[in-house]
């Protein structure tokens, strides 16, 4: 019998239609992958199973859990179902736990809410659940607080909480999006194991095709509140029908065309760079501690080359970027751009600074919301000794916008009038406007949906060829790095552990860490489309 059966579910929030005739099934012991771009209604579908919906929501259709109609259940009955019959794991492990309670108490609470057992008994079972979620008591006692755990560990606590009562159905809403690839792989393995052990049904939501492809038995592909395609995973990957699904798949494995002619002259030299952070623990007269974020890093970038930099979160990638840009002074080593130091006399060297630009990760946070595009894009002119004025300036802005595929009239708009992908184009236009030699892209596509990401990558490849740009491309996503770089550096805890041509490094990793990374990276099944 089907465990969860959603039939023609339609949903509106304050009258706005969000879901349209969504139907899907989850069977015990099987994993249903739900895929779709941001805003396609994946989370809302998940929440509607638990009926934890925003105010003003109206549902029609039916949701049946082991035959019970969820939509007609009373609130107390729903409370009985939540946590006991259906467990849920959320995307953001950093905020999903109450910071003021121990993990033990939070896991035990699931048990206490549903079963009339003593506290001691509940605690004992909480310890077991954590054990199953691979948080052994010896290392992670129940008395830990969430802030004493890493993101992956917190996600395990959330999982332990969700499986403590061995629910029939587990819903995981993008459980690994916020995590590193290696951690992601571990968590996904854990989920798979638990499903198999308890014969649970798992609804796994993700925007990443590759993640789901590895794991799911069945697939549902959603677009703007609609299920556009569904069926067993194997079959589906082989023969996608709906154009949207095909586009999604294509974009996920997109490799931009690049000519990539590289000169044999060195543009940027980084030699033995050390960056220490001094941390004032408690205000100005508090104790200071030192933290070495970048440790003795050396490498070179050739003119016209596209160099990748990969590594886990916190390994020092952004710190290195800031050092190269001359925004912060380094504590050791030197950085030369075209033979000149980027940092002299405690100040950035403006002569070389104007030959480098950067594109940041967050398309929403990297623009002043109160400025018009024109002013935003022309900000780097500040670096020039004689900034362009008047018509010349306007022409330059228009040219930059047009080169990233936007129109001249877009320059009068504000940033909130653009989508994420368009914003990232504007960021690139801003980087291009003073015609730099080197552009640093710090996770420049990580926040974008796959299809948009593919477009931006194409654009970057195209611009690189047209203007003979040199890229330093930073990302944690190996497949992206692989598709756009010639050479790659692998960074771990502030040090470069491996470098070499991209394909060589990824196909035949030599350092243990690189091997781990490559193994953990989810891949689409070969032969898909």
């Amino acid at each position: 019998m089907t465990l969860l059966k959603i039939d023609r579910l339609s949903l509106t929030i304050h009258g706005t239609p969000i879901l349209k005739d969504v139907s899907l099934n989850v069977d015990p012991g099987r994993i249903l992958g739900v895929i779709g771009e941001s805003g396609s209604g994946k989370s809302i579908t998940a929440f509607s199973v638990l009926q934890l919906l925003p105010n003003g929501t109206e549902c029609t259709g039916s949701i049946r859990l082991s035959g019970t109609d969820i939509l007609t259940c009373s609130e107390p009955k729903l409370c009985g179902i939540r946590g006991r019959d259906v467990g849920m794991v959320f995307q953001e492990p950093m905020t999903a736990l109450n910071p003021l309670q121990t993990i033990g108490a939070q896991v035990a609470e699931t048990i206490l809410v549903h079963e009339n057992v003593s506290k001691a008994e509940a605690t004992k079972r909480a310890a077991e659940a954590l054990q199953r979620a691979e948080l052994p008591q010896e290392k992670f006692p129940l008395s830990r607080y969430p802030h004493e755990l890493s993101g992956g560990q917190r996600q395990r606590v959330v999982i332990a909480m969700a499986i403590a009562l061995k629910p029939k159905l587990l819903i995981a809403d993008e459980p690994t999006t916020a995590l590193d690839v290696t951690t992601q792989a571990q968590i996904l393995d854990l989920l798979k194991r638990l499903v198999a052990e308890d014969n649970m049904g798992l609804m796994l939501i993700s925007h990443d095709l590759a993640v789901v492809a590895d794991l799911a038995d069945d697939l549902v592909i959603m677009q703007q509140g609609d299920v556009v395609e569904s069926g067993p995973a194997q079959a589906l990957f082989g023969a996608m029908q709906h154009p949207y699904s095909r586009a999604l798949l294509e974009a996920s494995s997109h490799v931009p065309d690049r000519v990539g002619e590289k000169h044999e002259t060195s543009l940027l030299q980084v030699r033995n760079v050390v960056r220490d952070y001094q941390q004032h623990v408690h205000g100005w007269w508090g104790a200071t501690t030192h933290f070495r974020a970048v440790n003795n890093v050396s490498f070179e970038i050739q003119r016209g080359e596209s160099l990748g930099l990969v590594g886990e979160s916190g390994c020092g990638k952004s710190t290195l970027t800031r050092a190269i840009l001359g925004l912060e002074e380094v504590q050791g080593g030197e950085i030369l751009f075209d033979g000149q130091p980027v940092y002299t006399h405690h100040h950035a060297n403006k002569d070389v600074r104007r030959r480098m630009q950067v594109v940041f990760q967050d398309p929403y946070g990297s623009f002043n919301p109160r400025w018009r595009v024109e002013k935003l894009v022309s900000e780097p002119f500040h670096l020039l000794q004689t900034p362009l004025r008047g018509q010349e300036r306007e022409d330059a802005v228009v040219e930059a916008l047009e080169s990233v595929g936007l129109g001249a009239k877009d320059r009068h708009k504000y940033i909130h009038e653009f989508s994420g992908g368009q914003r990232q184009r504007i960021a690139i236009a801003r980087a291009l406007i003073i015609k730099p030699d080197l552009i640093i892209l710090d996770e420049a596509v990580s926040a974008l949906d796959v299809s948009v990401r593919a477009q931006v990558l194409d654009l970057l490849a195209d611009l690189g060829d047209r203007f003979n740009l040199t890229y330093l491309f930073i990302s944690h996503d190996l497949s992206v790095v692989r598709s756009i770089t010639d050479r790659v550096l692998v960074m771990k805890s502030g040090e470069i552990v491996e470098d070499g041509p991209t394909d060589a490094v990824f196909d035949h990793p030599s350092h243990d860490y690189t091997k781990q990374l490559v193994a953990a990276a989810p891949v689409l099944p070969v032969g898909a489309v």
Partner: protein
């Protein structure tokens, strides 16, 4: 625009504020009766057509007194908020730009110190030194506005400093001062406006409190607090004397607070995005 009128706080807030601001402005040019002329024979009249709010113990027209009092209150509170902003905002910006540095520490400790002083007492001491006057009331209220704005600005600026667009500006070679002015200030402006209206309303209350204890504007300048102080012994037989200035304070402060709340909602991009 229609947003403005659908906001539950903004509309009553702006109406009340406008009424009192208008009363203050009109009083510059015209009042029903000259409040510096006493007419003992007409004293303690209850509201009538000639005197819509009645007359006080010296036979002055209470409506006129309230209009002039509005001017006093608004002027004192406005200038005090101005002082707080002019001194506090740059301090806050500077502290945020040098977070963790000596400057930041000094500014913040000084702020803490000012906060630690009981404000009314300091006002009393200031007026004991320089004598009671509207100017000294302004100074006394203004001083306590400085740390409010400094803290607020610093807090808001700190979150902005970690934004990527600030990084982008730094990549464009801009210095801390320039970034503070070009990027930080406009983005904390909303917050400052909202806090400004709140401080404004607190300023009106503070002015009323100070002139109630006799430390605000001196006679013959009318002030609401002094009207209350003067009339409180008569509250049992001439309640209108205390009622109207009390209501004037209440409504003005209420109006400003509502306006502040309304502005907060309207200016908050998060909420605005949610609505559109």
């Amino acid at each position: 625009m229609s947003l403005l009128f659908h906001n539950r706080s903004f509309l009553p807030g702006i109406i009340l504020t406008t009424v009192f601001a208008a009363a203050a402005l009109i009083s510059l040019a015209w009042v029903p009766y000259d409040t510096t002329i006493l007419n003992i024979a007409e004293k303690l009249k209850t509201p009538s057509l000639a005197h819509p709010l009645g007359t006080d113990q010296f036979g002055r027209d209470i409506l006129s007194m309230i209009m002039v009092g509005a001017r006093t209150s608004i002027a004192v509170a406005l200038v005090a908020v101005g002082i707080g902003m002019i001194a506090g905002v740059p301090l806050g910006l500077a502290a945020a730009a040098r977070k963790g540095g000596l400057l930041d520490e000094v500014i913040m400790r000084m702020n803490d110190l000012v906060f630690a002083f009981p404000s009314l007492l300091i006002a009393v001491m200031i007026t004991a030194v320089f004598g009671a006057s509207a100017l000294n009331a302004i100074i006394a209220i203004g001083i306590f506005n400085i740390p409010v704005f400094a803290r607020l600005t610093r807090g808001a600026a700190l979150t902005l400093w970690s934004r990527e667009y600030i990084l982008a500006a730094r990549v464009a070679g801009k210095g801390q001062a320039r970034i503070s002015i070009e990027h930080i200030l406009p983005n904390v402006a909303n917050l400052l406006i909202v806090q400004g209206t709140i401080q404004f309303s607190l300023g009106i209350l503070a002015e009323a409190g100070l002139s109630y204890v006799g430390l605000g504007a001196q006679p013959p300048t009318a002030s609401w607090g002094r009207m209350l102080a003067d009339s409180q012994t008569m509250i049992s037989f001439a309640p209108h004397l205390a009622l109207f200035p009390g209501l004037a304070i209440l409504l003005t402060v209420l109006g400003l607070n509502l306006l502040g709340d309304g502005l907060r909602d309207l200016l908050d991009p998060k909420l605005r995005r949610a609505r559109t």
